[in-house]
Symmetry: C2
Amino acid sequence: MENLFDEMSNEKPALHTCLSPALLNLYDVSNSVVVIIDVFRATSTIASALHNGARSVVPVDSVPKAIEISKSIDGIAAGERDGMIADGLQHGNSPLEYSPDFIGNRILVLTTTNGTRLLQMALDRNADTIISGSFPNLSKVCDFLKASGKSVILGCAGWKDRFNLEDTLFAGAVIDRIGEHFTIHCDSSNMALDLFRAHGSDLIGYAPQLTHYHRLVNRFGLIKDIEFCLTIDVAPVLPLYRDGKLIAG
Amino acid sequence: MENLFDEMSNEKPALHTCLSPALLNLYDVSNSVVVIIDVFRATSTIASALHNGARSVVPVDSVPKAIEISKSIDGIAAGERDGMIADGLQHGNSPLEYSPDFIGNRILVLTTTNGTRLLQMALDRNADTIISGSFPNLSKVCDFLKASGKSVILGCAGWKDRFNLEDTLFAGAVIDRIGEHFTIHCDSSNMALDLFRAHGSDLIGYAPQLTHYHRLVNRFGLIKDIEFCLTIDVAPVLPLYRDGKLIAG
């Protein structure tokens, strides 16, 4: 990890990890690529939908807006609140719902508790570029960040502004892969890397240590969702935010 | 770590770790003991001063206030901003400045970048009880928390609202010692415990991984301060906040 502290590496762009939406204001997103990370499950679902042929995913911050927009563009309104399909919607936030047959060539209008909210915050703060990241599209995210040459903010969506382990693990996975291409002088990033190196070799085995695992599995029986969300590169696509929607970049 | 997820343990008080002052509003401090943690260096300095015989430590949020109050009570005004002795003060935030000869029977009026600010926030939010914690007084903190029977918020002061590793390590040390007496359903706490178990056996060896280490050692040459701040139980005292000041409880 020594090289991460090499302050001489001024030519490298900076990389920071933001552990909660409530901390986003501490970082300069206006010159950065912001990676929205909501492992359980928004950004895994976005990767799944786009990989399976969705034309785009429109992230919105409320259920009424999801319904209204989906009607106007003949899209599929979907979303969750507190881990369940939101009242008034027929489709939720499960990456397994969006098979090629169902989502192919359609537009998903998605609202979620944490991930879509963080995306809106990054937008409001004039992020240079916004992409979404999750284990199912880890390599695509890493390739994009490495190629962009810009500073990076790994933005963990957390749970209602609280820190969570799974988003931090994903940040650590990115740093493990491409950290050497960035100047990292950020304790959050070093912690994330440490965490991933300790547990990254068996994410599914580690999952019962996550509070969110218990919320999803014990209450909603979503073990298959968890497994998908913790499997690397099963939905290799780069969700890139442009003009109000995420498209396969 | 299984037992930390035992949701049946309802009779045990809850324990949460708050990773930044900017997240304190997410926790109910009004029924909790809040532990203010600012390892480098405010809470280590508070432990040092009280252990070496200071009558009390008065935490204040500004340099002018530190000067004014110290004059009115014949105290010692001290504090730092950005790691250095604050302009207008003669004494800083080094635990090694406060020897028994100097601080014995006197009142320290202290202002710091992070720790005293978090204490003020806990106060404003009507914390039930406020204590301060650091490695030099780890055992005293653990004994108090275990005996109190109340819920606990381990409050990391961080660095200007950013996460830092050293305060989180201290939270992990507390959880490692007494976690079994609490219901812990909090990813921050599980991460802190994980971090401490990985690095707690050689804190001084791990220190160069901390961004704050570089700020203090490379810029200010404060290696002795770092060593003191990472040494367990060298200032065994319980700083307890009562009526505007921290006293040896």
